[in-house]
Symmetry: C2
Subunit: 141 residues, 2 copies
DNA sequence: AAATAATATTTGTACATACAAATTATACGC
DNA sequence: GCGTATAATTTGTATGTACAAATATTATTT
């Protein structure tokens, strides 16, 4: 069977899963008008208002250039502002950005419930933690 | 802790893992001059020479437009050819494409060994299978 | 204090991938 | 057999993300 070839490869299955779950997340976050990646950035800023772009990249595991692009876009939507602090650029929520938080968290919960319903809450959460650990372990290899 | 927010989300951890393992795969496949996604397409064609683009999309879990783009690129590199069959387009390996197979499989093995070394072979394979199952289960939700 | 090194960010560019609309080709109902 | 429905592919366009090079700012060395 052809499938076997691929289903044995972590690269392949991780990519496949990511496409599926990303699509789900996009659906759940659609009503915010943001794609989930941007919503997560906004959550990160809310958790630590004024963090630098470097820190954002670390938390979200995105490269600096990607962070720049994301922040620009959210600035254009008036959801964050940036202030220069030496060579760093700090990112702050605007009122409009703050006003979205609740909605974002609702989307996040819906997403969580949606996959918990399929996988079981326990199992879904266990898998999620495992994926995180694995990503960290592999990073150093 | 900020991290907790994200490490609890399957969307987030799956994306993170995918970025890490994709980078590893790109390194391993670099000497083929192909990114891993293209190499996998080539493997799929070798397994079932003359399959249609639709079938390719199903096996690789890619949308039709993406398959078109990938096949075009591999045609430009003279690794596959296509033949029209009614409204379908069938994809065949060229000699040059066939000649790459061995190298591709070597890369695939290196990749496999590389993450097995970190995760353990058993555990790596178990996780891989699990991710595949989960992606299939979630797809129907 | 000037010269150099280090660090954070930005910019230009490229790539994988998707969606929606357009196109092409077959199949079906009359 | 013709008109319409269906199916496969392609095309135009957009998005998320990365890398490499450029820029800007601060820190270190002399």
């Amino acid at each position: 069977m052809l499938d076997k070839y691929f289903t044995d490869c972590l690269y392949f299955t991780a990519n496949r899963l990511t496409r599926v779950i990303t699509r789900m997340a996009e659906e759940e976050f659609a009503r915010t008008g943001l794609s989930p990646a941007y919503a997560f950035l906004l959550m990160a800023v809310q958790e630590r208002n004024g963090l630098t772009q470097k820190e954002l990249g670390e938390v979200l595991h995105l490269t600096p250039s990607t962070v720049t692009r994301f922040v620009e876009k959210l600035e254009r939507k008036l959801l964050v502002t940036t202030r220069q602090d030496g060579r760093m650029s700090r990112v702050y929520l605007t009122d409009k950005g703050r006003a979205m938080q609740e909605q974002i968290e609702e989307c996040w919960s819906s997403l969580h419930e949606r996959y918990a319903k399929v996988l079981g809450r326990e199992e879904g959460d266990r898998l999620t933690r495992r994926l995180y650990e694995v990503s960290v372990e592999l990073e150093q290899a």
